[in-house]
Amino acid sequence: MANYYNIDDILAEEEFVPVVFHKAANGVIIDPSSETNSVEQGAKVELPLWLAQDLYLRQAISISVPACFNQRTRLEIQADAACVDLKSRSPYFYEFGCKIAPLVGDKTIEILLLSAFKIRYKEILTKAYTAAYTTASKFLTLLTKEESNLYEAAQVSMSAFKKWRMGGPRLQRASVLGRKRRSFE
């Protein structure tokens, strides 16, 4: 999973999570607008996942479920997963979910991710192979990074096949025909 040089993996860890500090911390500026450069015990802040993860392992903070996995999103996904704008919630919805689930100890996140992906997968499949780009482009804005990679993979291979079917040796054929005519004369 964790791939040190994978840019998507790095960016997924940049997502913010709401945390509560158990210990007071001195000499840190987490909120630039605060007057003192310290964090009180019980302070609620948003930290990027990579920082929250390590602080959590040192038992300095507790992590709560991020906004993109709240009840409203869940209801929307249950209603029609294919139409939910996951990209605006988090472009790394799935990766983020996989990383956050063990930290907040919420098993339902994984179930949510799987059920969402199952439905959205079908939608991506039909859009990628059948729909024209113009009709699909509206749908594309709803996709997370992982999903749009999937869509592009399908789209690229299909268009490469179509290109091969139509083009290429057409040009060669003309030269063959020319040669043949000469041999008949």
Partner: protein, 209 residues
Amino acid sequence: MAGQSDPHISLFSAEEVEFMAEDELIEIVPNMRMDPLNFICGDFGPFLPQIASQVPLWLAVALKKRGKCAIRPPQWMSVENLTRVLEGERESQGAFQVLPFHYVEISRLLFDHAREDIPDMYMVRSLIEDIRDVRIHKVETSLEKFSGTSAVKIPNLSAMEVNIIRPFVGRALQAFYKHDNPEKIPDVDRASSAQTRAANNEPRRQLRR
């Protein structure tokens, strides 16, 4: 695999699949006399006028281009057989008819280079195009049935069809795998090592595979 143009997406381009299809054997009827050809892949020939002989498709196409032979279209490329296959494809929703692994590429090469050797060329061509479209559509519908990590078995798919869906299916299965197995092993691993790590500050990457 080695040799593909873009190893990152594990995809052969259509041209590369065509190149591989050119190793398939096909029957030609030469109109010239030539000594046997000894290749790494085997010996072909000797070539005598009007005596049929088996050669790889690339050699057949090369000879055909020079006007040295006529290519005999393979057995399966007859109108009767293709009509039967097309009917079979349309009738059964799930199963695919048996066709040569490289039927898309072979038919394309023959249509391009040996059109006068194929009887009922236009009929054969439209039949093969119909078959191909029906099959690709069927592949897509069968992909819709994915709902988790399971072994996927679609018998009788041809090289080009597999190649079209390969990048998509690979990624999709990976994603399904990731969400289907909610990281039970690393989770346990992390929970048990959390305390020890907090104590002695081990480097983080080792713990997370």
